[in-house]
Symmetry: C2
Subunit: 430 residues, 2 copies
């Protein structure tokens, strides 16, 4: 059973605020351990990476080499059944097609004063993609991280994936190959992040590291930020489903469970205007849990973090949605298009009754790496721009310098930066 709130209740504001503040992750204090791992990898390179891998992943990566070989990738293809391979290829194509529309334009123009301004976008040269091992090792995530990088024009895409006990995940290797990953290393944890940030004898230093990971990986990314770029720090996944009573409760229940099965710390929230419908969804959730392979995870998530919010009317939804700032937002109502225009904070919006969030997870073409933990207030899903940077361009001639230079001189002097002022005035007095 999830908790239930109603905007009609007098204590709604307090309960809603509490819901927003719910911590779904135990924030482990791993900073010091991670700092030591990073320092050792910087100092000792491959030797440290091999040692940590022996210790944490329980195998010796020096036997087959840190790098996963072309032969191992070829073998992975053999281990993947044809329908799955086809589905991966469809996904790659659709992700590529959609992300190609995110390629930014360069600009160069001359303003009224004759000053030429503009910018040029270029791809980051080398990018590292961290792929988790174990339960969260998803081939779809490999596509979602690597394909936009390729579209951006990244030359070298270096992937690390831990292989506990030395076991490879064929799906992940095939997805990487399909997506255009250029180098794959069988390492994980803070040691992989450190190796990507600083480079070792075998592992090339990258310019930016993207991809999710556990607390150690997140702490390592935080610590190497600045030396390299990083993407967001991903938290547990979440969905907010806004559904009117005209929906089939079983469909909505399936959507809530699709989120809940990710992780016991995932969060599924239903927002609806009808208490009887809410009851029906709750019932359908319990029923579907009976046949769900990951029922244990999903039921823990639904029990601990699931919520149903009853509204007096859908017009109450946008303000609450913006405060939740959900990673995924499903709008299963006929007025979905109207609602979208009133919403500002959501990672991705799934419009209408036939757009389950899982479509976006895999094959729609949009990215499934999205801002979690209310960070849609200030950040966007992963995209092509995350793999590019904008170089600012400026050009003035003598006339332009005469026109706007004096204001620069005035401000330079006002700030006590006389050499700034002089670098302009020396050209004006020539």
């Amino acid at each position: 059973m999830s908790i239930r709130l109603s905007t009609a209740d007098g204590n709604f504001e307090a309960l809603f605020t509490e819901l927003l503040a719910t911590k779904r992750e135990v924030s482990e204090e791993v900073g010091a351990v991670v700092a030591e791992v990073i320092a050792r990898v910087r100092e000792e390179g491959d030797a440290a990476v091999i040692d940590y891998t022996r210790r944490f992943d329980r195998f010796d990566p020096s036997v087959n080499g840190l790098r996963i070989s072309a032969e191992e990738i070829a073998a992975a293809y053999e281990a993947v059944d044809k329908p799955t391979l086809e589905a991966l290829k469809i996904a790659r194509e659709r992700i590529e097609a959609h992300h190609s529309r995110q390629l930014p334009s360069d600009l160069r123009y001359r303003d009224d004063a004759g000053v030429e301004l503009g910018w040029r976008w270029t791809a980051i040269h080398t990018v590292g993609i961290y792929v988790p091992g174990g339960l969260a090792s998803y081939p779809s995530s490999v596509l979602m991280n690597a394909v936009p990088a390729r579209v951006a024009g990244v030359k070298r895409i270096v992937m690390t994936v831990p292989t506990p006990d030395g076991e490879l995940n064929p799906l992940v290797l095939v997805a990487a190959d399909i997506a255009g990953v250029t180098d794959i290393f069988r390492i994980g944890g803070a040691q992989a992040v450190a190796a990507l940030a600083y480079g070792t004898e075998t592992i090339p230093a990258v310019d930016k590291i993207v991809g999710p990971g556990n607390a150690y990986v997140a702490a390592a990314k935080r610590q190497v930020f600045g030396k390299v770029g990083i993407d967001m720090i991903a938290g547990p996944s979440e969905v907010l489903v806004v559904a009117d009573p005209d929906n089939d409760p079983a469909w909505i229940a399936a959507d809530l469970l699709a989120q809940a099965e990710h992780d016991s710390a995932a969060q599924s929230i239903l927002m609806t205007t009808d208490a009887a419908f809410a009851d029906a969804v709750e019932e359908a959730v319990q029923k579907q849990l009976e046949t769900l392979p990951r029922a244990e995870i999903a039921s823990a998530s639904w029990r601990d973090f699931g919520a149903i919010i009853l509204l007096n009317g859908l017009e109450e939804a946008p303000a609450l949605i913006d405060r939740i700032a959900p990673e995924h937002l499903e709008l299963a109502t006929d007025v979905a298009e109207k609602l979208v225009l009133k919403i500002r904070n959501a990672g991705a919006v799934f419009i209408g009754r036939y757009t389950p969030e899982a479509l976006g997870d895999y094959v729609a073409g949009s990215n499934h790496v999205l801002p979690t933990a209310r960070s849609a207030r200030f950040s966007s899903g992963l995209g092509v721009l995350d793999f590019m940077k904008r170089m600012s361009l400026l050009k003035a001639g003598p006339d332009q310098l005469r026109a706007i230079g004096p204001a620069a001189i005035a401000l330079g002097r006002a700030e006590g930066l006389d050499a700034h002022a002089r670098s302009v005035s020396i050209r004006l007095n020539a």
Copy 2:
């Protein structure tokens, strides 16, 4: 005297690599102190902020209130001379005009399968701007941070600026007012970052914090990242000037010193093809230092971190420039436009002999908040996009779900996420 390298020397690669690796900042270990400050501000709110301000800024902010009042801002206008005020207004207008061109477009389209995809950009609601006190308290930086936020459509811009001993900087207040800052608080340090991230009784919690600061501020931003967005972690400023021997050595010297006067940890590098020209620039630097108010800072920077790199020809420049990835790049040569096309890593490029970097610092319209410490490899200067986020949109109908749903089901099952698969299949089997 700066150090001098030549690509003609046998040991150039080693010396150049060393130059790239030079640490210009002592990285203070302030993480633990900052964590404590943040925890106390979260716990005690205003009381903690007031206490830290008493201790570090040596005045009691509760006397006049944490908020800087409309009367104090009005008084600041009285203290600024008219030419400087006019220059600030020119700067604001030009920055606004240029950044308006960065506003991104929304997109909505239907692909071949009939799936509707797209995105919608919206502004971040509330942004915090950290403005340093003391030497680095620049009104121009207030404009560079606040104006793009306004252009993006940010509703509330909350600025914090430390006022050591309670002394206000009128220029900074006027710049903030001109730029459209909505709230100003007389606080700084990690306590200001904590207050912006978590909010107090008086200070509103923001969604993102931008702006430079000392080691404590940088560490605080790193620690609150995730709870709020942050911009890059700024390091000491740097310029790389590529100049052929046809330049007036005094102009180039002025440009090198304009960077050096910022900070003794700033770095100015000259790249040229002519040793005699290099000598002349070095001589001009020494001469100009004699009359520079901030000579002490500038000469320390030039002595400790300045460098002259002699090339055999300008064709060697692009590869070296990309490895340096300078914050500012001046191309004082007739082939500047050709060079620009070959360069990928630079924060901002100043093209031609009449575009001193200081023009971009103040009034050109482009942003002067740029990636330092080689981070132009993976990041861009501050812009309108830093104050917006992109909400992904997806819409399918029954036909589209039938077309692409099976691939999503296949991938969901392959990943062991059966509820994902079910959320699609339940709609297909209806």
